[in-house]
Symmetry: C2
């Protein structure tokens, strides 16, 4: 029920995932608003948490909402994973409250892949918005969870983990960053290694695989990047469309530009993932198209097959802070 193009694009994506990839998909929502669902199973849920509704109170009070019911389906084993393009906060809260946290995890975090042109693997940024305020110990757990995610989902065998700051020197940044820096130097990151502080410009630079930060900074960085890319690409496309000459030239350039477009297309990434809960929860962009949903469902299914949740649970070695 959630997302700017819901339910049509969501249903279409689900049907395509069944037809094209052979996935089993259960739709959760108001059956009579879903249109033609084909052979798909529908798990009825009478309520819809609006895109701009307050997350915590909505999840508490709307027990028959599609988000809460989807999270319960994962909890109860009726589904292996949930995918939503709806209210991010409510998706997160539903997953957290219904699936629960992994035992040693202090706070789940949103891991968002940031595309790196020319690189097969994106940079994984977390926390991209789940926790506006963080303790240093949580950032260590984000590093542990993010490293597993980079390894399992993108095949990065020895992930380089960076701490987002405003200078490479350990002395730069807020008290949170300075303390997290010290803790990260002494932490067990499994096959991953801590490469020190990184800066905003490193997010798309390809020199680091996982970047950890608090959810406020991470969300600002992510939206700044999205907005900047959108503005720049929009301005370039407007220039391409200026007159017949530029349109012809742009046409000739398209084959060379297509790989870049493929890398940057948000619909291609499969969405962000909430790490640290007892189940797979894929958070798709609100603007998700049917193709984005197909990719998100594929990622969800692969995460279940790969045992991502157990691997994340095993990687988090520090106690709750």
């Amino acid at each position: 029920m959630g997302g700017d193009n819901a339910p049509a694009a969501i249903v279409e994506g689900a049907r395509r995932a069944v037809d094209e990839l052979g996935l089993k998909v259960v739709l959760v929502g108001r059956r009579d608003e879903l249109g033609d669902v084909g052979d798909l199973e529908v798990l009825e849920a009478s309520q819809v948490i609006a895109m701009d509704a307050d997350a915590a109170s909505s999840v508490r009070t709307m027990k028959d909402s599609s988000l809460v019911r989807a999270a319960e389906a994962v909890r109860d084993g009726r589904a292996g994973a949930m995918v939503s393009a709806g209210n991010t906060g409510a998706t997160m809260a539903s997953a957290l409250l219904r699936m629960g946290r992994l035992s040693k995890v202090a706070r789940p975090a949103i891991a968002t892949p940031i595309p790196v042109p020319g690189s097969p693997a994106p940079t994984v940024l977390l926390d991209a918005g789940a926790n506006a305020e963080c303790k240093p110990e949580w950032l260590v757990q984000f590093a542990q969870m993010g490293a597993v995610f980079a390894a399992r989902r993108y095949g990065v065998t020895a992930p380089r983990v960076g701490l987002l700051s405003i200078g490479e020197e350990p002395s730069k940044g807020t008290p949170l960053v300075k303390e997290a820096h010290e803790l990260l130097q002494d932490s067990d990151l499994g096959a991953a290694r801590f490469v020190g502080n990184v800066e905003g410009r490193d997010l798309m630079g390809g020199e680091v695989d996982v970047v950890v930060t608090d959810g406020f900074t991470g969300n600002v960085a992510l939206k700044t990047l999205e907005g900047g890319m959108k503005t720049l690409i929009g301005a370039i496309l407007a220039a391409f469309d200026r007159d017949d000459t530029t349109r012809a030239a742009a046409e000739a350039l398209m084959p060379a530009l297509l790989p870049l477009y493929g890398t940057l297309d948000p619909d291609a990434t499969g969405g962000a993932m909430l790490l640290g809960v007892k189940g797979v929860c894929v958070i798709s962009h609100g603007s998700s198209s049917a193709t984005a949903i197909v990719n998100a469902l594929a990622v969800a299914q692969r995460s279940v097959t790969d045992g991502l949740v157990d691997a994340v649970g095993a990687a988090v070695t520090t106690g709750r802070a």
Copy 2:
């Protein structure tokens, strides 16, 4: 003496500013390392604070450094403004310690213009890195100073001031942001008005003229944007250069793309400015070319003529926090 291309590009820029714009420029540094300075006056300074040196201790101990001497020249009335492409922290500390703060200003802030394609005025982001940690009251002063800056430097008659957060709702964000939101609603911003929370994607969107945030978040956002732009433009230029066909097509597109290039060229902005000190202090990019220095000097001179410092001082109405 400071900047990746110093001193050659700095001296060349200074000489061009004299020749092309009729400005009076005093060079500060080691005379025998400056090369041919033409008719320019040189204020001798024997020490150089390295680009990566610790700012506070360097400024304290290197009393004959070019940065400290430049700030003293402004303090003593030998110069109307200082411009540096050197160590940002040391530039800031020199200006702060030698010129001093304006009387009601709790903390000076770095105001950085962020280009907005298609708009004559950029978005002014502050603090872009002077204060990693901030109090809510300081953000109100940043708003007051930034509004004056947007009005004086870019002719924005009624600046729209936004508070950087992770959602438009006043309830979103850190305690700092929530408290600053309340304070900003009740503050005297002169001809400017507070438009509420904005997000990272609004920095280049053209819907807001001034964006206030703490120096950590501001610096991360700025570097994220710079890095993203650089990566994307690099990838596009690589695609343009793929083969003879794409090179010819790119050539045909250049006239349409040039205005965008002009808007985004960091050398064209004239640099960032430290607001809240008793003098004009322009902070140029470390990578500044001679052209960047010409533009920075022009901005510095205009800021003096326009009485920017007095206007900033008059706009800050709240007491020190």
